[in-house]
């Protein structure tokens, strides 16, 4: 990848939610593209396992335990990365949680927790990273949103609101920081098969229904976001900002119509 226009050689990338399926797939792709990757997340044991799968204690991979819902922890983590590795070039915010319940009875604690982790956590991370990127006049921030930023799906009110909020946060920060060489974009996965959605895929009737509305006729797999994540982190995307790239096999364009 060294000579590729998409090379991330020697770039320092922080990926939150790095032990999760999407965060891990992105971390793996960044390692392959040459970046030094800091895997960040809440659970140190899971981070260690993710790190081992990427070659363990090589100088290319590090781990940081952080709760993104805590602004102080986030800024300490980002500052710590800059102190030890010299800079932060790329931030990916892939930490996220989900809770399914009817909107009419959605528990307020669950609502607050989801907004706190998904939306506020993304804001805290982007803010902390940009403070280091702006003076350097270069930076790449990639936020994970979701197709649910665009369409309504029953029983995920808080998650959808958090993802829609991220999409607008992305646009605002993009417009504000573009003059400083910092781009801010979103990747929005569609229907993916991950640990977060395994319950949905376990039901064959549901699975068939879901796949019938996706033009590519398959669920996404975590590696499907890797290409977009590398593109948006590379020097080649310096003029792309405020964009959301949905990785959904065309589902959004089909509008949920059964394609047969």
């Amino acid at each position: 990848m060294e000579n590729s226009i998409f090379s991330l050689e020697n770039k320092v990338a922080v990926v939150t939610g790095a032990a999760g399926d999407l965060g891990f797939a992105i971390s793996k792709a960044y390692c392959e593209a040459g970046a030094i990757v800091v895997l960040a997340g809440r659970d140190s044991a899971r981070l260690d396992r993710a790190s081992e799968r990427l070659g363990g204690s090589s100088s290319q991979v590090a781990t940081r335990v952080v709760n993104v819902a805590d602004a102080n922890q986030v800024s300490a983590m980002i500052d710590g990365v800059v102190n030890s590795l010299g800079r932060i070039d790329i931030l990916v915010t892939a930490a996220g949680i989900q809770h399914r319940a009817p909107a009419a009875t959605f528990a307020h604690d669950a609502w607050n927790e989801i907004l706190q982790v998904n939306l506020n956590g993304t804001f805290y991370c982007a803010q902390a990273a940009a403070r280091h990127m702006i003076p350097k006049k270069t930076g790449r921030i990639v936020m994970i949103t979701s197709l649910t930023a665009e369409i309504g799906i029953p029983h995920i009110a808080a998650y959808a609101a958090s993802r829609g909020g991220i999409r607008q946060l992305c646009k605002t920060m993009a417009v504000e920081w573009a003059a400083h060489g910092v781009t801010v974009n979103c990747i929005g996965p569609g229907r993916f098969r991950t640990r977060m959605t395994e319950d949905v895929f376990a039901d064959e009737t549901k699975r068939t229904k879901f796949l019938d509305v996706i033009p590519m006729r398959r669920a996404g797999v975590p590696d499907d976001v890797a290409g977009a994540a590398v593109f948006l982190a590379s020097a080649s995307s310096s003029y792309v900002t405020g964009q959301s790239i949905y990785v959904d096999g065309g589902w959004l364009a089909g509008g949920g119509n059964v394609l047969g």
Binding site: I5, G227, S237, Y239, V240, G249
Partner: protein, 261 residues
């Protein structure tokens, strides 16, 4: 990642600055690039610049608004290379702007013929190989004008918004063949057309820069890299998307000067 070795890429409008820039990027990533353009003479010039050894490129004179012309070129390409994996449609009519009241039916038809008919016919023609082989990547060029625009661009916008809608529908229709269809919408990019606009009035450049969040006018490589991502194997689940390459222009409707931020 993003390797295009052994991929055959057809680029319409291949002799234009954007088409040639895209061809250069795909060629650099390993693709065999086939440029289509109206002028055979211009084709020789661009090929000698793009691929002096002539190892991985061809040029065919073609009118993309003419189905027979495309069919003839398609037959030659299949005979020579046996397949088409990638199609990028860059063919565009000369810049169209003017008040609607003084826009003639001939002007309307002329712009739509190249910008919209040309995309329909190119996809229909080169999609045959993609359907047969169950693999394809199509990128149609639209414009940020399809998202946010000025007065006096009705015809151009109709064409580009038409391409965007056509592409989404085709993406939904051909996804099951393993074909993705996406669009790239360039914003202010340093093309001959933009250079002409800037040359018309010294204040145009300052106005364009202060309105663009990135405070620079984009390079052709900004567009060609985005195309390269979309035609790669890594973009296999990105379908029916439009990526705007505009330095944040369409994300922004702020009235202030980005140069002051």
């Amino acid at each position: 990642m993003f390797d295009l070795t052994d991929r055959v890429a057809v680029i319409t409008g291949g002799a234009g600055s954007l088409g040639l820039g895209i061809a250069e990027t795909l060629h650099r990533l390993g693709a065999y690039v086939i440029l289509l353009g109206r002028s055979a003479e211009k084709g020789k010039q661009v090929l000698s610049k793009l691929d002096p050894g002539g190892q991985r490129s061809d040029y065919y004179a073609c009118d993309v608004a003419d189905e027979d012309s495309l069919a003839s070129v398609y037959a030659k390409i299949i005979a020579a290379r046996s397949k088409v994996d990638i199609l990028v449609t860059c063919a565009a009519a000369p810049a169209a702007s003017g008040k609607l009241e003084s826009t003639s039916m001939e002007q309307w038809r002329s712009v739509l013929a190249t910008d919209l008919d040309g995309v329909f016919l190119s996809c229909k023609t080169f999609g045959q190989s993609m359907i047969a082989r169950r693999y394809g990547r199509i990128v149609n060029m639209t414009s940020f004008h399809a998202v946010a625009t000025y007065p006096f661009r009705t015809v151009y916008n109709a064409a580009k918004a038409g391409v965007e809608g056509f592409s989404r529908a085709l993406a939904v229709e051909w996804g099951h063949h393993g074909i993705t269809v996406n669009t790239v919408a360039p914003g202010p990019i340093v093309t001959p057309r933009t250079k002409w606009f800037l040359s018309q009035d010294p204040s145009n450049e300052a106005g364009m820069l202060s309105r663009t969040p990135a405070v620079r006018i984009g390079e052709i490589t900004d567009v060609s890299a985005t195309v390269a991502f979309l035609v790669s194997a890594e973009a296999r689940h990105v379908n029916a998307e439009q990526i705007v390459v505009d330095g944040g222009w369409t994300a922004n409707a702020w009235w202030g000067r980005h140069t002051d931020l």
